[in-house]
């Protein structure tokens, strides 16, 4: 389902299990990729595949670990696995499994919520965090952004629904995303998404959003008091129908109050998936930050 040359392993935390795709030179700086999506609510099925070809680019120079959907190989399954804390624990389990002490985290959409959970609960394991097109992390106030996904074709995650979602969320024509859309359609058939339906999609979505909201509030409290403890870059898109540049900038301002090593980036002609719309620019920007904070840390430790 995902990139060639990636090894698939399975890790667990509590009752949850997840597939992890691993590639890149051993011993190199590690980057942990966390996909997003709200189970039961998102009109497309996310997963490790959502990052597209940019993962191969990152894996040329770095050790890359990409969390996928829970495998449910053993049938162990509970609503806890939708929660940010569980996903964060799975992220740490992935790092343990590949023998990595600390990693840079790149979280897309609600993957940014999982990432912030990791940063707040295990800062010693996280070198930096890149939050990518994640309205859930940002303050929105009474914005009118975010109404663009309120009436998807039913059923949720059906083929038509997913094509509709990519058409609305991406900047590029969905014909350019055919491979990714096909992988999302396949992902919707996995036991994970079937289980979401079995539990009652709407109920799961409400639980997940409530949990993400708690993390969001906690993140802001940490940001305004002691500060987010690791370097943060916020990567926003100029054309994301769910969010505006101003929302991203406001989020940046909150983090920047206490965390010195904070950067804000806007990618032009990109929607909710900047790594699909502008993969080269996305890879360049994220890599530049990883290079920079690594070099800065080396310099400061002298």
């Amino acid at each position: 389902m995902i990139m060639e040359n990636f090894e698939k392993i399975t890790v667990s935390a509590g009752s949850a299990e997840v597939d992890v795709y691993v590639a890149g030179p051993e011993g190199a700086t590690c980057v942990l990729f966390l996909h997003g999506g709200v189970p039961g609510a998102s009109p497309y099925a996310s997963g490790a595949h959502i990052w597209g070809d940019c993962l191969n680019e990152f894996a040329r120079e770095r050790r890359v670990a990409v969390l996928d959907l829970p495998s449910m190989a053993t049938g162990r399954w509970s609503p806890d696995m939708f929660m940010a804390e569980t996903n964060a624990a799975l992220g740490l389990a992935a790092l343990d499994a590949i023998g990595v002490r600390s990693a840079h985290v790149v979280g897309h959409d609600t993957g940014g919520i999982t990432g912030m959970t990791l940063v707040m609960d295990a800062p010693e394991r996280i070198s930096s965090i890149s939050i990518v097109a994640s309205p859930m992390n940002a303050p929105t106030g009474d914005t009118i952004a975010g109404v663009s996904l309120t009436s998807p074709p039913l059923p949720i995650l059906g083929d038509e629904c997913q094509r509709w979602a990519f058409n609305r969320l991406g900047y590029s024509h969905p014909a350019l995303f055919e491979t990714i859309i096909g992988q999302s359609i396949e992902a919707a058939k996995t036991t994970y998404y079937k289980a979401v339906g079995d539990f009652g999609g709407r109920k799961i979505a409400e639980m997940a959003v409530a949990n993400f909201r708690k993390v969001q509030y906690r993140q802001w409290e940490v940001a305004r008091t002691r500060g987010i403890p690791v370097p943060v870059q916020i990567v926003w898109s100029a054309n994301d129908p769910r969010s505006t540049i101003e929302i991203g900038r406001t989020f940046f301002g909150l983090i920047a109050e206490k965390q010195q090593a904070t950067q804000f980036h806007v990618i032009n002609r990109a929607g909710a998936f900047p790594f699909l719309d502008q993969p080269e620019m996305f890879t360049s920007i994220v890599s530049a930050f990883l290079d920079g904070v690594t070099e800065e840390k080396r310099h400061l430790s002298k």
Binding site: A256, Q260, Q263, F264, V266, I267, A288, D291
Partner: protein, 295 residues
Amino acid sequence: MDSSKQINIGGVDTHYYEAGRGEPILFVYGGNFGTSESASSAPVWKLNFDPLSQRHRVIALDKLGQGRTGQPLRDEDYTMAAVVRHIADFIRALGLPPVHIVGHSRGGFASTRLTLDHPELVKSLTLVSSGTLSPRPSTNEPTLTNCPFPAYSRESARWVYEGYSHLKEAVTEEWIDGVMSVFDNPVYREGVRKFVEEQCGRKYFYPQLAEMKRDTLQLLADGALQRPLQIIFAQNDPTVAVEGAFDLFETVSTHQRDVELHIINMAGHFSFREHPERFNGLLDRFVRMNSELRV
């Protein structure tokens, strides 16, 4: 940065630094003619020049009438237009292939104008904290006027650059040493006299700059910029409103896909000195990404 080289550009003795091999990066610093409390020169890029020379061919020139480069030959050339022409002639004289130009502050304006007027000389443009190009009002005058120290002194230079900066410790003795070497240059002092006492600034520089800025912003709004652009501004610049970066991004991105905007936190006007590692990361990757571009 080792010792500078010299080349004659249209009768003006021009100093520059050069190192490394690979994609050519040309650094253009800020400031303008005729300042006696501070003085820009090419070594201000030292923290970027040296590390990036490991991977690229880096060049930093002293602009017309600044640093150790000679003064304009005519009073009428104490203008931004003459500065831009001088840079273009410099690129041609060195026989450089199209460059990745990096312009800071007033140098950012000059670099943008050069990219508009001479796209064949430029492969990509990095615009750094340019209040000169920004459509927003700059606050360098209220921040930096009435320096309490004598002209041409270490104290005045330190006061000015600390006023520009968010991280005061970024204003190193080495930086001030570079300023003092410019102050000690009689050719530079003659330029200050021309600019101030003979009023070349009032008569030529500022009126021409205003006209050129209006024209340049209109060209950007019309989609005339034809090269990849990254805009790097700082969140805490006491002299340049960060909002200007968003204005410029919006203007250019309407017409052009390959535009990036970056804001660096806890940095003032000299983000490339205040956070050199992260700045270098952005520049290195941007240059590498656009290295294959054929212009």
